[in-house]
């Protein structure tokens, strides 16, 4: 099983400001009534994009200027709450390849890494500035470089952060760990035998 290594993500960005954007907001629970992840993109941020009568709420994701964006920008504690992998799956299936935020909730971060979608952190000021630049020029090319741990746009280069292990996993094409976990089956069995309750 071979998966690509991920060192760079480039494209255009869309800014979804706000603190503590939870996974219920990213994908409301009613969209979880499914046995596959196939149709999740439709539910992405659904209840802040349209009101209950279907009237558009002018969400950035529906702004024609930002169609085709593949990098999402947001605030602190992004993806908090429910562990539902449906949240990063919906983001991924809506065409996003990376998220830049002030910080990420842990389970969301792990789920995203496991899908090969890098989540990198930048400071509040830098995200605000990047958001403003994207707002001013929606076609602005934004690039994330995991090797240099930077994000760049125009003449600006900012530092981004990510735990070393996730960075290593993405860059060395081991973000889906299943093969490596399976390869260690002997050690797993040894561990299981040593555990008195297993």
């Amino acid at each position: 099983m071979s998966i690509p290594s991920i060192t760079q993500v480039s494209g255009t960005a869309v800014y979804i400001p706000g603190a503590d954007i939870d996974t219920d907001r990213i994908i409301p629970a009613r969209y979880l009534r499914c046995v596959t992840f196939d149709d999740l993109a439709e539910g992405l941020f659904r209840d802040v994009r349209t009101d209950p009568d279907g009237k558009p709420l002018n969400h950035p994701l529906d702004d024609p200027q930002f169609q085709g964006a593949n990098i999402m920008l947001s605030g602190p504690n992004f993806g908090c709450g429910s562990s539902r992998e449906h949240a990063p799956q919906a983001i991924r299936r809506a065409g996003f390849d990376a998220v830049i935020a002030e910080s990420f909730a842990e389970i969301f971060f792990g789920n995203s890494t496991g899908l090969g979608m890098p989540c990198v952190c930048a400071s509040a000021e830098e995200i605000k500035a990047l958001g403003a630049a994207v707002q001013a020029n929606p076609k602005l090319e934004v690039s994330i470089d995991l090797d240099a741990m930077t994000a760049s746009y125009g003449d600006t280069i900012i530092k981004v952060t990510m735990p070393d292990s996730a960075r290593e996993a993405l860059m060395s094409a081991r973000w889906d760990p299943i093969q490596e976990l399976l390869d260690n089956i002997d050690s797993i069995e040894t561990r299981a035998e040593a555990l008195p309750y297993v």
Binding site: A19, G81, S82, E85
Partner: protein, 470 residues
């Protein structure tokens, strides 16, 4: 230097170090439910893999089950398809499944402890963020995503980074009418919704020493609301007494051996922590939320915050966003806020002791006109005991609808939903925008007795006054 429980359990379950530096961690007990597991089984089939240790995974159905009529097929065909899928997967891979007909079905975090599946010194994973509940038994328990559910099914391990440990001491005495839920909401308010990122929370101090297992579960359950993926209490005599004679607990001579082993996992007296927080129990009042994040809480005697008094721009914006959504006036008392719905249930507060405590005060009282009040036991076993004790009748006589076991209106994946911008006094764990099933519905989190008080008054009230608790 001594070790804390997290380090001991982590070390004992470490299989090795992966090439990216993460630990390959053995998962002793795996719990699954209908929402986050079907795709994992799909991935397993795609990769032509088997379940490595089928006896270490336990399944039940909770999120999507209706609580009014559980006859199959359900009115919602999508929900029915999910439960069919879970049964098929459990059968095909030889996994123990507590289904609706078993008499043992319920919310996964109520069922595990009830069956004695949840045990000290173990690692427990489930595709559900409230898995930290099981930490109440001195287990390292945490939520995982669906791809990781696949990893556990196929290998009984996951790739994970070791957390830091923050010890949270709550000492002193809680005043009457202050419950474990208030302790949880107080901690989250104090440390923030993201304060626990990167940490496991070890809860201790005289309050946790004195807590019942159910009270410990309530606080551990809400660790994730404070950003901590896992929270636990060291195992002690209270833990062992709870586990004695449960269906999956060790029996006979094995019991004494197990208790001895379980005791050894408790943090050493000289254990080191990455951080320590001390809280005075006397400072905790009945606490309710006013916003759209569980850390936006106030004591019942306090006022709703005013954005004009925010410490900075970020806080001002977040108060404004919350108050706009909640339609609450800045600076006003939270007490007296009109309530449309009252919900007692969920993996946070849907246990036997919750219904017993509320029933003590509810006898002879009536739910206010116009308030829809729901009582939803966390498991079929809880429901049976409540019935045996006549608790259901007390709730029904007071005007509550007494429902069947499930997650119900905590996340509203079943038909139990708010309508429009109804405001719900809720014993659940999340007050996120739209959480209870209506995109404009409003949630105010509180203890079960505070929910009962709100149901009776038709507005947010101080349960200590409504029920003369002293």
């Amino acid at each position: 230097m001594g070790k804390n429980l997290y380090q001991k359990v982590w070390d004992e379950h470490t299989v090795g170090t992966l090439q990216d530096g993460r630990t390959q961690l053995f998962i002793g007990t795996h719990l699954i439910h209908e929402v986050t597991s079907p795709q994992a089984f799909g991935m397993l089939r795609d990769l032509n893999l088997k379940v490595k240790y089928p006896k270490r995974t336990f399944a039940t159905v909770d999120h999507i089950v209706p609580t009014d009529n559980q006859q199959r097929p359900f009115a919602d065909p999508l929900a029915d398809a999910m439960i069919t899928e879970l049964r098929k997967n459990a059968e095909e891979f030889d996994i123990t499944y507590f289904d609706l007909a078993s008499g043992m079905q319920g919310i996964v975090h109520v069922v595990g402890p009830e069956q004695g599946i949840t045990q000290p010194g173990t690692t427990i994973a489930c595709g559900d963020s409230h898995t930290a509940t099981h930490g109440a038994f001195g287990a390292i328990a945490f939520g995982i995503g669906t791809t990781q559910v696949r990893d556990v099914l196929a290998t009984q391990t996951i790739a994970m980074e070791e957390l830091k440990v923050r010890r949270i001491n709550v000492d002193g005495e809680l005043s009457p009418g202050v419950y474990a839920k208030d302790v949880a909401l107080h901690i989250i308010r104090l440390l923030g919704a993201n304060g626990g990122i990167g940490y496991a929370y070890e809860y201790g101090g005289s309050i946790f020493d004195g807590f019942t297992m159910e009270e410990r579960m309530t606080v551990c359950n809400m660790s994730i609301e404070g950003g901590a993926r896992c929270g636990y209490v060291n195992p002690d005599a209270t833990t062992f007494e709870f586990l004695r004679n449960r269906p999956y607990s060790p029996k006979d001579t094995e019991w004494d051996v197990a208790v001895k082993r379980w005791e050894s996992y408790a943090s050493d007296a000289d254990a080191q922590y990455d951080d320590i927080v001390n809280i005075n129990a006397a400072d905790i009042e009945p606490t309710v939320t006013w916003g759209i994040s569980p850390d936006q809480g106030v004591a019942i005697s306090e006022s709703i915050p005013d954005p004009a008094q925010a410490k900075n721009e970020v806080e001002r914006a977040s108060i404004e966003e919350a108050l706009e959504y909640m339609k609450l006036p800045a600076g006003a008392a939270i007490k007296g806020t009109h309530v449309d719905v009252a919900f007692i249930g969920s993996c946070t507060n849907g246990r036997l002791s919750d219904f017993r405590e509320v029933a003590k005060y509810l006898k002879g009282r009536k739910v206010a006109e116009g308030v829809k009040a729901l009582a939803v036991p966390g498991s079929q076993i809880t429901a049976v005991i409540c019935k045996k004790e006549g608790l259901d009748k007390i709730f029904i006589d007071a005007g509550f609808e007494w429902r069947e076991a499930g997650c119900s209106m905590c996340l509203a994946m079943n038909p139990d939903k708010l309508k429009g911008d109804q405001l719900c006094a809720s014993s659940s764990n999340r007050n996120f925008k739209g959480r209870q099933g209506s995109p404009t519905g409003r949630t105010v989190l509180m203890s079960p007795l505070m929910v009962a008080a709100a149901a009776i008054e038709g507005e947010i009230a101080d349960a200590r006054e409504v029920f003369s608790v002293n």
